[in-house]
Amino acid sequence: MIDFRFEIIIEYLPFFMKGMLWTIMMSLIGVLMGTILGFFIALGKMLPSKLLRLPFIWYINFFRGTPLLVQLFLFHFAVLPAILDSVNPIVSVVVTLSLNSAAYVAEIFRAGIQSIDRGQAEAAHSLGMNKIQVMRYVILPQAFRRMIPPLGNEFIVLLKDSSLGAIIAAPELLYWGRAATGQYYRVWEPYLTVALIYLILTLTLTYLLNYVERRFATT
């Protein structure tokens, strides 16, 4: 540690910054797509028919029950090449993160929706509101408030998980850490710097989420 070579960090800083932007982008799209998809999967999992629920249950089982890295390989080397003409590692990461986080977000939605007192839906229905109106105006706004902390948590996990993209050469933050390590045969300078940047990102996110939570709590 005595000969900590700052010049490596200085040299790679522009790449780390670029990588950081990709990391943010990929996680942001992942969490957005995951939230939209997760909502519908949650609805699917709450269908009255057991048979219709089954695909949604197994979607969640698969994405929560297998390693994210394996899912990433599966999509990057098998599924996406079969659908797309050319495979781009960033696209693979975004797709995998979206589908994976959808499984977790689905459970967050379901827990949030089911935590709302039954009397709310009953009262809304008794006034003549249809299922969609009850969901949109009565259940979801209340459920969403309770979902902010677990959703934020999911976002933070996603941000760190996006680093798996380095293994399929998606040029995100950790990828550049590995590149610097490869070039200089030095472990500490690149990896500590990368870790510090992840820490700054997740801490910023934590503060942001606390702020959002407080805002929602007071209205």
């Binding site: 009397g119 009262a123 809304a124 229905h125 008794s126 006034l127 509101m129």
Partner: protein, 240 residues
Amino acid sequence: MISVKNLKKSFGDLEVLKDINVEIKPKEVVVVIGPSGSGKSTFLRCLNLIESITGGSVEIEGKDITAKKTDINKLRAEVGMVFQQFNLFPHKTVIENITLPMMTVRKWKKEAAIQKAKELLDKVGLKEKADVYPDSLSGGQKQRVAIARALGMEPKVMLFDEPTSALDPEMVGEVLEVMKQLALEGMTMVVVTHEMGFAREVGDRVLFMDEGYIVEENEPQALFGNPQHERTQAFLSKVL
């Protein structure tokens, strides 16, 4: 107005309503009493299809509410319901609680809905509470808002399921007063309650329910003063 014939309702193996028959006339105030678990709530909930009906028929203004072609949401809008637990929407202000169903179900324009909601709040004595959230209201105030919200749909019938049972004693009066006013205006009402004073004063008829049947029904004076069935006598001796 409401005609219930051989109404049955089961939850799985548990038969809660066994054979309910009753005719309710327009402008009539019918009070339902009976021991806990006798099926009073379930009976009310069947009348606006919060619970599905297992057997028999319910007609409201000549329309069979269980018929396949019945628009359930339209029916429910015409049958107002007030719950023991108020069930106000906590994320909406008082006036939004009232305007939301008016705008989404009745398709009122916002300005018109607000106008009408203000009149309703005035009617239940809560004009000055329009813009607060339900959390800051007392139980009695919440229940009056819930009544105003149901009235916003301009229902033909109002169902009340123990509207004062969750209230502190000093707030029971203000809610009963609003209900009494409604009755005077000619609203058809079915009220499950333990408030025997209200039943005597406002009720046109009292139904005594036990174990899924209407065991006895009569005018309040007669039913309270001279109950015919043993079970009615036993119940009344406990609550009066």
